[in-house]
Symmetry: C2
Subunit: 454 residues, 2 copies
């Protein structure tokens, strides 16, 4: 122990109880310091073995399955130790928030600079760059909210210049059900979808690959323990039902969406792909980054009781900063880095908190299940280059977005790669990173399933 402690005097920040023996976790700007410990499911690249549960620390991740098997989780319950050996996070998070708090405390002790188990833990660590990730939960239902006033207003203006924000917006979180089957992992490709749409404003109806492919910048939360049907989750209990946070790109085909959306909302314009980041960042890790709830500070309407609480008012918001990057084929060709095209902030740009989303979702008795994904909807800020999608950034495709290499975009072109990344940061240097949601657009390739394949 003495030798280990001595070596830690060189750590960039913090004491031996707030730093990790994994040096990359202590570097200023690290996404995965000891205070984060986000969960994922992964396997070594190209190994083809079953996915297993991991926890991020610095540039590495800890193999929870192996940790469970060699007795490193002793002291936790048999249920917890068993669930750590699954290929998805559902069983683990279904044990409830108190269970996850205990697990994170246990993992913190294992990974701290003054850990008593450093030599035992080290062989269970793997470089994140050497693994591939899977969608961390079996997602039962995916719900997409519409939580940003700026987004709702910017898009509303295109249809209703006089009343861009509908009267229901500030009375309750609006949402629709998205497609769970096509929620895919960061890195999965996105094939340009085909569909029916009007070619140009009021033009002829045609069928073909979308001409208005877009991204949508969103924050998502996974449900931890759910609720039985015909019960509701109160606002002050809502966060106990949230497993953690991820970054979401809800790809959209604006022309297909526009033609189909009345009267029942988006369908084929959205359900071809939704890309999530690999990591589940717990709310416990985000505790230092709390902010007041916008709805309670700025809402004009008197909210229904189930959407209000003193706790939510003071600290319902999460100060998550979100950056979106574009890399075009031309950039890749010359080795140019991706270019940041927009940046938003969750606590500022979402009218509703994650707690309010959960409370609203269940107020009618709807049951949530472990692993359900609730996304915020497009997060747009109030100023230029804070809009969360090209539809807004280019004013409906009328004002092209100019890139630094001279290229421009109205909507996404084949080969474009969109990366959304997020972090929380304090002026004192503390930081929690969320990792990335990235996806590259492939050209549309008609691929009907033939009899031989079905």
């Amino acid at each position: 122990m003495t030798a280990i402690n001595a070596s830690l005097d060189t750590h960039a920040m913090g004491s031996t109880t707030t730093t990790s023996f994994v040096e990359s976790a202590n570097v200023p700007g690290s996404n995965f310091p000891l205070q984060n410990l986000p969960f994922c499911v992964y396997r070594p690249c190209s190994s083809g073995v079953p996915f297993r549960i991991g926890v991020g620390i610095g540039s590495l991740l800890l193999d929870l399955r192996q940790a469970a098997r060699i007795g490193l989780l002793q002291g936790l319950s048999a249920e917890q130790i068993e669930a750590c050996q699954h290929s998805q996070l559902n069983s683990l998070f279904n044990l409830g928030r108190a269970s996850m708090v205990a697990l994170r405390e246990h993992l913190t002790a294992l990974l701290r600079s003054d850990s008593m188990d450093i030599e035992t833990v080290k062989p269970l660590l793997m470089e994140q760059s050497q693994v591939e990730f899977d969608v961390p939960f079996a997602i039962g239902d995916y719900t997409d909210f519409f939580a940003s006033v700026n987004h709702a207003t910017n898009v509303g203006k295109m249809y209703r210049p006089d009343t861009p924000l509908l009267p229901n917006f500030k009375t309750q979180p609006l949402a629709y059900h998205g497609r769970a089957s096509s929620v895919v992992m960061s890195g999965d490709t996105v094939v340009r979808p085909r569909g029916n749409y009007r070619d140009g404003h009021g033009g002829e109806l045609k069928f073909g690959p979308t001409n208005r492919l877009d991204f949508e910048v969103e924050i998502g939360v996974y449900i931890g323990r759910g609720n039985p049907r015909n019960t509701s989750i109160a606002l002050d209990e809502a966060e106990d039902h949230i497993a953690g946070v991820c970054v979401v790109n809800d790809w959209s085909a604006r022309d297909i969406q526009s033609w189909e959306t009345q009267p029942l909302g988006p369908f084929l314009g959205k359900n071809f792909a939704t890309t999530v980041s690999p990591w589940v960042v717990t709310l416990d890790a985000l505790e230092p980054y709390r902010q007041p709830a916008v709805s309670e500070a700025q809402g004009e309407a008197a909210l229904s009781d189930y959407l209000r609480s003193p706790r939510n008012q003071v600290k319902g918001g999460l100060a998550i900063q979100i950056e979106t990057y574009l890399q075009t084929p031309a950039m890749r060709e010359v080795g140019a880095p991706r270019e940041m095209i927009t940046a938003a902030r969750f606590d500022r740009d979402s009218f509703w908190t994650v707690g309010q989303m959960v409370a609203h979702h269940t107020v009618n008795g709807c049951n949530l299940r472990t692993g359900d994904l609730l996304a915020s909807g497009t997060l747009s800020g109030p100023t230029e280059r804070t809009e969360g999608c090209l539809l807004e950034l280019t004013r409906g495709g009328t004002v092209p977005l100019t890139l630094s290499n001279g290229e421009s975009r109205r909507f996404l072109e084949d080969g474009d790669e969109v990366t959304i990344t997020a972090f929380c940061a304090l002026e004192t240097g503390e930081r929690i990173g969320f990792g990335e949601s990235t996806g590259r657009v492939l050209a549309s390739t008609p691929n009907n399933l033939g009899k031989e394949q079905s």
Copy 2:
């Protein structure tokens, strides 16, 4: 064999190869003749044992799990025999349509009047009245279409008297994603949901139990084998991806729905409960009840190629007759039977065929998975008492529906029980029944989950 054949001369109809040794299957009007053989998952009432797969025959059902275990399925593949022992139908139907055709042929031979295995099969038969059913598939995603011209027109009139039917309606099947978690089995109760809504037309916004609880009469299909993401299912292959048909009641809270629905469609107004019937009736059983597709006969627009085929045009429709019954608490009190309040017909009242729904759903590369539920949307006919929901039957609640006992309904009241049943019938007496979707409305009971429960 001789003795058995002799006893069959008394059968009401058919020869020994088209009748069953289960006498109730041969009675005129039976829902479950030998030609049906619908699938379900069930267990003996109050037994608490795991659900198992069954096949309906007359008033009985055959225990497929036990049939597999005692060797009665010999001749089928090991995969089929294994999947017959599961607690849900997903693995079995994931084997594909050809596999299901072979299984049904095998079961037909077992259950025929001239079966060689009557004495072995008999102990595996159980009265349907002695069992409880579960939702037959693990439903990954539930999609609700909007396929009835009459429904779209009737409801559209309430909002847009001049243009009730939107211009996109006849160009492609419209749909939205519903909630999979709250798809429940026939017989499960429906608690009146709470939510925000305007009290009366343009009245003040309030929170409380819905005042406009409604049913929606729908036909659903479960997906058999799915398709990988980024592939499409061609119209002429679509039915090979359909496991079978069920009856659906998509309960709706019209006031909650009305307040939330713009701009993203229904959410809390629908996702508290969707009640399905226990049985999965295969398309093979429905072959004699084929009808032309309405969209190809009556459509004005030139449909995109992926929505047209000669086969669909001639026989894409399914002549399923649907009857909806209401039983009020007052009727129950005096032992009065339920009263039929409306009747529709799927082939006539759905503009789109089930094949077109599948083709459209996947034309953008969206992946369907085994067990996904696609429902038709409310099926309304062109005349009085063929409308598929109270919103239409009572003209938005303005003209109460009068019942034969003198009661009336604008919307559903606590204690009301709604039963939807369906069948196909030929003039020659052949008939296929679908069973029932039934649910009783319970009073709203605020039931927030407390910490101790979560």
